[in-house]
């Protein structure tokens, strides 16, 4: 009896393990004659990057019908990586096991790098939608392409565009202070600034660079510090929630710079930014790659977005949505040309990408031998009437830029 | 200063209140020395100072000819003073044997050796049958004996016993008394704080009486227990 019982329990344990394995293991899929490209979209939709991750996710959702209309045969699997590289890594493995032919993702650098490891070993292409750490394309990955600028490219394009903005609006700022979040993205921008600003020949002088802790509860000290330096221009690299705190304290402290500009970072145009600040959000300007209001794909995307995501505004989300769409489009296009879902062949096709019509402003998408697209120009976008509006370059602009920003007090 | 333990002019105050004032005495090797006195007389404070759990404000304590005041409790234990606690402190989640093994580790190099020592001591204290029980599951008398066993396992020259008989039934008290007598015969010096006079008179060769932190009498049981001050302050409320 005793022996029986122990045997029984041993067997149950084994059975339990087997059941556990069965839950984890998934049917392997015949890949050979796939007619559609199966793309796993890995994004941080919960955890501390949830806001951007969910925005990109909406981009992936609305891309599906647009790609279908364009005649691409793709199927997407959406996976949440919880802002956690461990999850990113195992989920990438799982997605590939379940038959994903390529992966699109993953908004931030840490998660993207974890996925890149897996893709590299399994020879499955990773098409980066958004992630700015320059090392992504410098570390030596052979199964990775990125249609997104590095921190340095963002800054270099940003400074160039800001220069045009200043000359176009005929303001004459003398000094500027640079404020950035001390996180991966902010640091990449800072390094770009340190390197590029001295040679950029900007019309104003950089008085000081200030880093702030993205986990800080408020920014009033930071603003006081800037106010004491009294620059004409605030150059900022922030996340959305911080941008709100920043502008609020700038207004409260009656600090009136000529312009609040971002040399290539998001943060000044999220929906929460507009909701919190109302008219005070207007006239902030940022030099960023942007959805091309005059491109066909972009218009199709906007139409689909309006239909499928009525609670959200396309002009606000078009940065995340556009880059995610372009990444998916790049993958779908490569599949069409390769005629195969084989990773090596897909990768070959990806490297020879030459996509003329895409959502974001700029010349055709191409990649260098490291997998980086070096031709992603920035546009100048300014908040006008609570809508991010392209104001430069003139050929894609829908309004002309206005600077200096009108005083805070007069706004209604 | 020929004694094994000599306490000289020790003082301890808590927030201005004298807990122990100017206490001096000597414990000779091989004797059983008892400290008695009413509650709050400063017995446990005195004990804690000897054992290193508290530091005296002034005065000196010598053990085996060397000063021990200011040493930490573990250093004093290493010098050869073992102690029990008034409120027992076994290692609750460990077995009875493991409790004693830990004591024995003070002077043994390996667990096997310590286990041998522990088993001997458990045998001596009638705890062998319970050696695999978890200490937390023991009854109070057993726990008290476990305390003694653990202290003995450190092979002390001097054993400090803080009210090991309190709360025990007379038969249990007699058993511990017998055990302590046995131990004393093998050469162990014992300093005990006790309320149970039955045990004190049966064991002690000399008695020190404390009241309000000060010594009011010292000597053999016969002489001390006849002193008026002692009877008035203490024995009047306590039955002989």
């Amino acid at each position: 009896m005793l022996i029986d019982r122990s045997k029984f329990s041993r067997r149950t344990v084994l059975a339990g393990t087997a059941a556990g394995t069965a839950v984890l293991a998934t049917p392997s899929i015949l890949r050979a004659q796939a007619q559609t490209l199966k793309i796993a979209v890995l994004l941080p939709r919960s955890g501390y990057l949830a806001q951007a991750g969910q925005s990109c996710h909406r981009g992936a959702l609305v891309s599906a019908p647009v790609l279908a209309d364009l005649g691409y045969k793709v199927e997407m699997v959406h996976i949440d990586i919880e802002s956690n590289p461990d999850v990113a890594r195992t989920q990438a493995e799982r997605a590939i096991n379940e038959g994903a032919h390529c992966i699109v993702g993953a908004f931030d650098s840490a998660g993207t790098l974890a996925i890149a490891q897996v893709c590299e070993q399994r020879q499955v292409p990773l098409i980066v939608n958004i992630a700015a750490a320059p090392q992504l394309t410098e570390q030596g990955y052979k199964f990775l392409v990125r249609n997104f600028p590095t921190g340095q490219m963002l800054v270099s394009g940003g400074l160039q565009q800001l220069k045009t903005l200043i000359s176009a609006t005929k303001v004459e700022p003398k000094t500027a202070v640079f404020l950035h979040a001390n996180d991966t993205f902010g640091m990449a921008q800072r390094q770009g600034m340190d390197k590029l600003f001295p040679a950029a020949n900007m019309p104003f002088k950089l008085v000081e660079s200030i880093a702030y802790d993205p986990k800080a509860q408020d920014l009033s000290v930071e603003v006081t510090k800037m106010r004491s330096l009294n620059p004409d221009v605030l150059l900022v690299v922030t996340r959305a929630a911080d941008a709100i705190k920043l502008i609020r304290d700038v207004v409260r402290q009656k600090f009136q710079p000529m312009a609040i500009l971002s040399p290539g970072s998001p943060g000044l145009y999220d929906e929460e930014f507009f909701k919190a600040l109302g008219p005070l959000a207007d006239f902030c300007a940022y030099a960023l790659p942007w959805a091309n209001p005059k491109s066909k794909s972009s218009q199709a995307l906007e139409a689909a977005f309006k239909k499928m995501q009525p609670d959200f505004r396309f002009p606000i989300e078009c940065f995340n949505v556009g880059f995610t769409f372009d990444a998916l489009l790049t993958a779908a296009d490569a599949f069409k040309r390769a005629g195969s879902t084989n990773g090596v062949e897909l990768m070959k096709a990806l490297k020879s990408t030459n996509l003329v019509d895409h959502a974001m402003i700029g010349p055709p998408i191409t990649f260098d031998e490291k997998g980086q697209n070096n031709n992603i120009p920035a546009a100048v976008v300014q908040n006008r009437g609570r809508v991010p509006t392209v104001v430069l370059p003139a050929d894609v602009a829908t309004m002309t830029p206005v600077l200096p920003a009108p005083p805070w007090q007069g706004r209604t | 200063m020929s004694g094994l333990l000599s306490v000289n002019g020790v003082n301890k105050r808590f927030r201005g209140l004298a807990a122990v004032s100017d206490v001096s005495f000597e414990v000779q090797p091989g004797e059983i020395f008892a400290v008695i006195g009413p509650n709050g007389a400063g017995k446990t404070t005195l004990f804690n100072m000897i054992a290193g759990a508290m530091v005296a404000d002034s005065g000196t304590i010598h053990f085996d000819g060397r000063p021990i005041d200011g040493l930490r409790a573990d250093e004093i234990a290493q010098r050869g003073i073992g102690r029990t606690f008034q409120i027992v402190k076994p290692f609750p989640a460990l077995s009875v044997e493991e409790n004693v093994v830990i004591g024995a580790l003070l002077h043994t190099a390996t667990i096997d050796e310590a286990r041998m020592v522990a088993r001997d001591i458990l045998q001596q204290l009638d705890l062998s049958a319970k050696r695999n029980q978890i200490a937390a599951s023991l009854t109070l008398p057993d726990r008290k004996r476990l305390e003694v066993a653990r202290a003995l396992a450190t092979k002390p020259k001097l054993l400090l016993l803080d009210e090991v008989m309190a709360g025990l039934r007379p038969t249990e008290t007699d058993r511990i008394v017998a055990i302590l007598k046995d131990l004393n015969r093998t050469g162990l010096t014992i300093l005990l704080i006790e309320h149970v006079m039955r045990a004190v008179t049966a064991l002690a060769s000399r008695i020190l009486v404390l009241q309000h932190g000060a010594v009011i009498a010292e000597g053999t049981p016969e002489t001390v227990l006849r002193e008026r001050a002692v009877i008035e302050s203490y024995l009047g409320v306590e039955e002989l």
Binding site: S6, S9, R10, G20, T21, V23, L24, A25, T26, R45, S46, A50, H78, D80, E82, P85, V87, T90, R94, I96, N97, S109, A110, L113, A116, Q117, V118, E120, Q121, A133, Q135, Q139, G140, K142, D183, T184, M187, D213 | A51, G52, A73, D74, A77, F85, K89, P90, F91, A93, L94, E98, V101, I102, L105, L106, A109, I111, A114, N132, R150, A151
Partner: protein, 332 residues
Amino acid sequence: MTALWNEIPRHGKWLTALLLLVFIAAPLVVDRYLLSVLVLVLYFAYLGQAWNLLMGFAGQLSLGHALYLGLGAYTATTLWLLFGIGPWIGVFVAIAVAAAAGLIVGWLGWRFGVEGVYFALLTIAFAEFTRIGFDHLGLTGASGGLFLPVSPTAHDWWNLNGGVHLFYYVALILAIAATLLAAWLRQSPLGYRWLAVREDPEAAQAVGINVFRVRMIAMLISAGMTAVGGVFYGFYYRNLFPSQIFDISRSIELILGPIIGGLGTIFGPIVGAIILTPVGESLTTFMQSSGLNVPGAKSIFYGIILMIIISLRPSGVWPWLAKHLRLDRPKS
């Protein structure tokens, strides 16, 4: 050690051998996804053992082990990146650095009588302090991160560079070694002293145990072992960010396993890791296949599972499991 093995009942030996065999043979059988999950299981089992030495044996609650993890990871990767010193040598420097940090935390805490919850919060403070420090340390790329080059074709194990199999077996060896070390320490005089100090510091002192020293040794070993886990992490992921590796959530995730598995036991950390990591993964899979694919839903279930386990099995799953499998030590 042999005595320890002999103490395990017969069917327990079979089970242990079987478990070992399963883990050794796993790469031949399971697919890459499961293997990557198993790497995490072993990694957390290893870290759980390291943390369990300090908390389960010596009774000191550390909520800041990310400090040693991060220091280990950064030390070894920086040595390799900047000075070409390989991880197999760098790991010793990493151990030394983390152990030194552990000694500082322990010394500052215990010398001044900081214990219990206060000590736990002190460990958090040190980890956070160091995180912000590394956010500003230019040598390691500050908040921008530290990156190791990737050469996917190279399989040079001596530089800890290779495929999932290499890391799987490294993690397996680490987990087994940590378990053996923990078992050996548990049966050593030091282990007994740890337990004494955990159970009652005052009584431990009264039997001649130097409480401070014994705790410091636990901290030294625990921090050093955790640093080795950090080195593994650094070379497995090949990139490090202070905000990730030093984050308080790292400290928390590595202590869940041993607590859920069974604090102060040898197999608890392993059981905890075997339960928690797959539960997390299964939840993700389940959420996706059931259409409940709402971000955050998985974490809600995970949180509820934690609460249920700690309510039903406060001393962990392993003691309960051992009893039902008749693997607990025989009461003679």
